[in-house]
Symmetry: C2
Subunit: 673 residues, 2 copies
């Protein structure tokens, strides 16, 4: 019987599809034939012609590449000339430094902008047919090689834009001005000339160039500002600002003037509302006086935001125009097919006649898909940006903790904060990893959220709209006694545990009624297995969701605490922190700057012994009264132990620890009396 019924449907399907085959094909391939068949929708008009801008990319690069090279050489010579009288040919720079990542300088925005241009160029070239602008119409086999060349060409091409700022000379600022204006004008001109292109979606090219143009605009404002500033502000103040001396002093001041924290007594009084408020605030990054995020982090977060934009744009233009075309091109013949496959509810599925209502239903389905897609994309972007903000807060907390030597507040196991091969490689690739993880995280989230929203829409919302049955409602209807049993069992266990099995002493709770406890445990075992299945599903869902949402965060390991460094992201982050903290500790920098000031040997303010900062609160032997040797020694030992207990990271730097390769600097034994 089943076979007959199915066969009948099969026949009808074949008949109808045979009859309407030609119509179907002509409608289905509407986009391939490029005819303006549905003129009421302006999403797919006539063919977009290949547009050739006045200043072609090829011309632009052929002109600008030599200019960039010349600027680079000129600036090198300029730096050489300036340093020659200090040490003749010794330590003379060969190439200019792009940015002093480990030293605090003022031009964080400028560096981030150049990196932004670089990354956006990378996004464009990955999808481009001609990755290297000199070579047009490259063949499939050679394109791979050109792409690899382009990966190295673009950083070199934009090198002068970033290097002009580090030279710190009026001439370099002027060159930077001219270069950035030139780049900016060419890019804007190209976009105005050719706003549309046939690649993926007509406006995709223009939209994907927006970050480049914005970054170039920023540069062409930043360099003039630097130039003007170099003329107006005094030399010394400028130097102080530019080399970050001001920041280090500010940091030191903020640390030393820190008021003692409010005691733990206030913590108890916090209400639930204020705790939720505090929790939410921990997701929002607000700048703090006396602390500045390191340059590398600023660059990586900016790159991640641009990556989110580029990926979201690509996801949007790859799906939405396509599904709009499919929706507009939907005909009754396709609807008949869908009805006969049982995908669309219909009153009389056997008669493929008047299908107006079903056609509308199918269009509504496609529209729902589109809505789900856009909603989930928006949600993903918001979540990723929130997580990036959150990651900034985490970075700051971790850095501050490590500056104070609280290694175990950040890492699960003790680490020695010193450079190593691994650490340097991780530091170099940190920004790239952060960018890539933001891209991938957005993709993963989009897949998950789109799937979930489609399931929700087609199992709950649409059946409610059309008052049809859905598997979800069937399950709820048939299995409600089962769910109720599970809920009741869990509640009963909680109530029994509270009122029967727990003796409420004022000081200490104790287990009581053990026999009843054993009996309940035994009798409820089968039900607890089923509760466990639900808990397992929840475990799966929550771990999947958590990992997907936090994928873009490098400061969180997606693995369990024991094996967390097997996560490549977290591993990179840990090593990055090692370099950052060991090489650009603000207090160390401030101390070095003070040492380098021979003229006015001003001493730092007396440190507060209650709020110790690594490297500041050391022993002060002049305060010790000269009494018996034992007292002295015991006090010294005590002081040493106290200092080490408060600054565990210092242990690694002690003489014994350095000569003993097994010591890892954390196993502090208390001072023996």
């Amino acid at each position: 019987m089943a076979a007959n019924g199915s066969g009948g449907m099969h026949d009808a399907l074949l008949d109808s599809s045979l009859a309407s085959d030609d119509d179907l094909l002509s409608n289905w391939y509407i986009y391939e034939t490029m005819e303006p068949a549905v003129p009421q929708d302006d999403m797919f008009p006539a063919v977009i012609p290949d547009c050739e801008p006045t200043v072609s990319p090829r011309m632009y690069h052929i002109c600008m590449a030599p200019i960039s090279l010349a600027v680079l050489l000129g600036l090198s010579l300029l730096v050489k000339r300036r340093r020659l009288h200090q040490s003749c040919w010794n330590g003379v720079p060969g190439l200019l430094s792009p940015a002093n990542f480990l030293e605090e300088e003022g031009n964080q925005g400028l560096v981030a902008a150049v990196f932004g241009i670089l990354f956006s160029s990378l996004c464009v070239l990955v999808l481009d047919r001609d990755p290297l602008p000199f070579i047009s119409h490259s063949s499939q086999s050679t394109r791979e090689y050109w792409k690899i060349m382009a990966l190295l060409y673009y950083p070199a091409f934009y090198y002068p834009l970033i290097a002009c700022a580090t030279v710190r000379h009026r001439l370099s600022y002027l060159v930077g001005c001219l270069l950035s204006w030139c780049h900016c004008v060419v890019h804007i001109w190209q976009r105005v000339d050719c706003p549309q292109s046939p690649k993926i979606y007509r406006y995709y090219s223009t939209l994907s160039y927006i970050p480049i143009i914005l970054c170039l605009v920023l540069l062409s404002l930043w360099y003039p500002a630097l130039l003007v500033r170099s003329f107006t502000v005094q030399e010394e103040t400028l130097d102080k600002e530019v080399t970050g001396r001001g920041y280090y002093k500010k940091y030191l001041k903020a640390v030393l003037s820190k008021r003692p924290r409010k005691g733990s007594s206030t913590k108890i009084e916090e209400s639930l509302l204020s705790r939720i408020q505090t929790y939410l605030c921990s997701y929002i990054y607000t700048p703090e006086e006396g602390f500045r995020i390191p340059l590398k982090l600023v660059v990586s977060i900016t790159m991640a935001v641009i990556a989110v934009y580029q990926v979201a744009l690509l996801l949007l233009v790859a799906f939405v125009p396509t599904i709009q075309i499919v929706r507009a091109g939907m005909t009754k013949d396709v609807v008949v097919l869908l009805v006969q496959f049982g995908l669309v509810p219909s009153d009389n599925p056997a008669v493929p006649g008047d299908m107006e209502k079903e056609l509308n239903i199918v269009k509504h389905y496609l529209w729902s898909l589109e809505v789900c897609y856009i909603c989930s994309l928006v949600l993903c972007c918001l979540l990723t940006c929130a997580m990036l903000l959150r990651t900034l807060v985490m970075h700051r907390n971790n850095l501050k903790a490590l500056y104070q030597g609280a290694v175990l507040d950040v890492f699960y196991k003790a680490h020695i904060l010193r450079p190593s091969r691994q650490a340097i490689v991780c530091w170099m690739s940190f920004a790239g990893f952060q960018t890539a993880f933001a891209c991938l995280g957005l993709l993963i989230q989009q897949v998950i959220f789109f799937f979930c929203s489609v399931v929700f829409a087609f199992l709950v919302v649409i059946p409610l709209q059309y008052s049809t049955s859905s598997p979800f409602f069937t399950i709820v209807q048939n299995m409600w006694p089962f769910w109720l049993t599970l809920v009741v069992a869990v509640i009963v266990q909680h109530l029994a545990a509270h009122y029967q099995f727990l003796e409420q002493h004022p000081l200490r709770k104790e287990l009581t009624n053990r026999r009843a406890l054993y009996i309940v445990t035994y009798l409820l075992f089968p039900i607890n297995v089923l509760v466990g299945v639900l808990a397992g599903v929840w475990r799966m869902v929550i771990s999947g969701l958590y990992n997907a949402i936090h994928f873009c965060q490098l400061d969180i390991s997606l693995l369990n605490r024991g094996v967390e460094t097997f996560d490549p992201g977290y591993h990179t982050y840990c090593h990055y922190l090692k370099i950052e903290v060991s090489q650009s500790h603000p207090v160390m920098k401030a101390f070095c700057l003070l040492l380098l000031q021979p003229a006015r040997p001003e001493r730092p303010a007396a440190p507060q012994p209650s709020h110790v900062e690594e490297g500041i609160q050391l022993m002060q032997p002049e305060r010790t009264p000269l009494s018996r040797a034992r007292v002295k020694r015991s006090r010294a030992r005590w002081g040493l132990a106290y200092t080490l207990l408060n600054n565990p990271s210092l242990t690694a730097c002690r003489k014994t620890a350095l000569s003993d390769p097994t010591a890892n600097g954390t196993q502090l034994s208390p001072p023996k009396p």
Copy 2:
């Protein structure tokens, strides 16, 4: 052109499917029509008739349920009579305890066997049409209610089997013997009567009953052994063994006689091979003298193993016979369809004539699917069992650490080990959760591994066999320069970091050549983004695989360290440990037993101060020489601090900590001199 080509293929497809429609259907629905169409394969012979065993389940339950009830009542009266002369009607038990989970007793195997019977019955009833054996041919609407009833009925039905052992009387052992023999004989008889059943797969029913029969066999050997033992062994020895006094003393002896561990100097000398050996050994559970896994854990691991068997059996019989039927029923008409969809390579796809070769290819494909399925299932079972063994090792390590008060070795944050409502509920449901997680973990692993093995087989192995192209080879062929670039870039960064950017001091490595480092960082940024994409994919894969493989382990949280208790499995485990450690600490039990021995007040051996165990090494004030008050006080303080430092969990029990609700017992400040 594309449309025409596609249309032509479409037409051919429709013609052929129209022509062979009847043949196709008759072959396709071969299993539904139940005809012995393909007699050469013995997987699907004639219809399996509904088999009615001599002792029907209904009869069995109608007879055994009243007997069980009577036994239960009789045993209760027996216990009552025995205790009457001690305290008349006071504290007389109403119901028998199924098993003293928190006290160490000898009958771990017996309890596990009864739980095994219970769980296997649950597995059978979930899929059964008549969950409650009294009611046959229940309707769809009432079946849910009967299932819920059955969830409570089965534990009660098998109650006497477990309770007979806890009464500890010869008569109860005798009753247990008779009952278990009776159950065992009936079950074996039923299986011998009806080895085949039409449900899912002919032998499924028999295979799924194997655990029940094995458990019943174990019981019918265990009870006679207990009975014989009660006649032969002396009363006192028996009591000592049964109440676990022997174990507690053994544990204490093992703790106190512990030799000092080998120092850390041996650790350095360990070679890589021995470290790998140690790591592998940490996955294999070997019993340790003086330590026994608690009963609840034994039960839960046994249940998990049975769950793995039941789920694997269900997965096997649901897929393999079906695909074997499809393979045997595969005809040339279906092959033509597949060839025309492009799923099967063919020399002349237009002519649907001689398809012998293609038919063999399709059969080979299906056979490959079957092989992949079985291989991945075997792998899953092995992995899950390995993880369950590993979890036993972890349980032991955690319990030992907590017995010694090393809370922070086990938990990330400090916990107070005392019972609470939450803890009791988690303790009750622990075994159920472990069982359910093992089921779900196996399912998830099977999905992942089956998918991976199918992808590997169809993208790599089968194209190699038939020398056809596959997307995998195309990607490798086209993109090898790209992969090579990434590898070279990573190697170059490592080499540069090692030889250029790291100054090799003997004591301390330092960063050098900073400018070159910045330049390399800037120039390699685009390549590092692409390396980051690969790292991100690896992050996704490794976190997914890790979570899938460790899904059955409750001692591991699948979430990040900061939020690990949001994982329901790990949350349950943490609370379970609290109850287990606080209520059945072996040293505490041994101490209590010593206190309860008024006749021979034997004292425990003097504790070794170097290897402290919580509750043993306390202060010994009689050793303090009576000197000045200050010295005394300082020594006392020092001793207290030292003790607390070594036993942090004791802090929670101090008077001040108990009266102060904010203290969490871990913030130990060093003793002030």
